[in-house]
Amino acid sequence: MSALWAVIRRDLLLAMRRKSEVLTALFFFAIVSSLFPLGIGPEPDMLRKIAPGVLWVGALLAAMLSLNRLFAADHQDGTLEQMALSPTPLALLVSSKVLAHWLVSGLPLVLLAPVLGLQFDLSPRSLAVLMISLLLGTPLLSLIGAIGAALTLGIRGGGVLLSLLVLPLYVPALIFGAGAVEADISGLGAGGHLSLLAALTVLAGFFAPWAATAALRIALE
């Protein structure tokens, strides 16, 4: 138990020490969501329509960008070896790392999303649905991302390979997440989408740590 807690504490400590890290994931989200109007044009009607998609894609990219730091630093300086040699099962340690990753890079996105939603002129109700969908969906992003990060560990150019592996797996999260907000905007009720999203997250919570652990063991060879 104490090892798990130590891993979470350490990852949060590292995030604080690197100061900018937490904030910059947020800003990436903010900037990407602001780039789209610049690329597409300023008409509010159009923007309102594409808002859920753009915001979810932005969250997804922000979560993804922070993934390649999930295990890479620990791999390079040998901490991962030490984790594999720790008496605590590696899968549990991996789960703590994923949890810490979500706390650092997922949760802040959830909190920032409504502000960005305002840029696209969304209604308060839709903003609430957006937050809920992100709250349910970002852990899924971290969990799936952990598998991808573990698989691409130690492979040079892994960063981009990682996106290649992970983005297709993110598609369901994107569809249900953005779908929930869209359904709400068009008055259809977001319940169905949200419960599917929650189910996916729970499932991934059970299986992803094991898959990531297996992948890590391969990378350590």
Partner: protein, 249 residues
């Protein structure tokens, strides 16, 4: 000529700038308070109600001043950055890091008050107008500057990296501004148009100017104050800092 140059460099040393800043900042703070009171009085009690916008227009008194300051401070940062790169003075780096938070604050205030103004006037918190967009980007530039200098722990390196970023940014600001402007005017949004008071009442103008002056004084005062703290932090191992009365006491 030569004599004057030497004088300037004398004040460019942290050791002599520290007491100078200490003497100056209270004056600027007092001026800020006076101008602010005068401006608020003019703005709220003298300036008449606007014909089109009702009382809502009174946001102008903070909004415009904050917007101006946010842009102006970035230019000052770039100026100090250039000085730092050319003459390699230590003080310039301290000035940039003392000014940046205040500049970011004003950029934020400009966005905030603008958004609060936009909701009643345009019916939306935010539209993708050229001016608003470039102010948003300016805000991001500030944040980038602050994040970059905070991420480097050796102050000398942080200063120089920040200086390069500030200069690159200041070259880009006009480019960004005109590109955004052109982008926006090529296909103007249909539902929104800027409704501005066509000719400002004289008192409004004065209120605005007074508030701008107040913000200006405030920015100078807080920057001087903060640069003193930064000098203390960075020069902690010098003997003159150890001999300062406020440290000895």
């Amino acid at each position: 000529m030569n004599n004057r140059l030497i004088n300037w460099f004398k004040f460019a040393s942290p050791q002599s700038f520290y007491p100078l800043a200490g003497r100056l900042w209270p004056w600027f703070a007092a001026l800020a308070a006076i101008f602010c009171l005068a401006g608020l009085w003019l703005g709220f009690f003298v300036a008449p109600t606007d014909a089109q916008q009702g009382e809502g227009y009174r946001i102008i008194f903070v909004h415009v001043a904050a917007s101006w300051m946010s842009m102006f401070i970035y230019c000052v940062i770039a100026f100090w950055a250039a000085i730092g790169i050319v003459f390699n003075t230590r003080l310039s780096g301290m000035m940039t890091s003392a000014l940046a938070p205040t500049g970011a604050l004003f950029a934020f205030l400009s966005l905030w008050t603008g958004a609060l103004w936009g909701k009643p006037m345009w019916g939306a918190w935010w539209v993708w107008d050229a001016r608003l967009t470039s102010e948003l980007i300016l805000f991001f530039l500030y944040l980038g500057f602050i994040a970059l200098t905070a991420a480097i722990d050796d102050p000398r390196r942080a200063d120089r990296a920040g200086a390069i970023l500030a200069l690159v940014g200041v070259v880009n600001i006009p480019v960004i501004y005109f590109s955004v402007k052109w982008w926006n005017t090529l296909h103007q949004g249909a539902s929104v148009s800027l409704t501005r008071a066509p000719s400002m009442a004289q008192t409004m103008l004065w209120g605005m100017l007074l508030m701008a002056l107040a913000f200006w004084m405030y920015a100078i005062a807080i920057a001087l104050y903060r640069v003193r703290v930064i000098i203390l932090e960075r020069e902690r191992h010098t003997t003159w800092v150890a001999d300062l009365p406020e440290i000895k006491a």
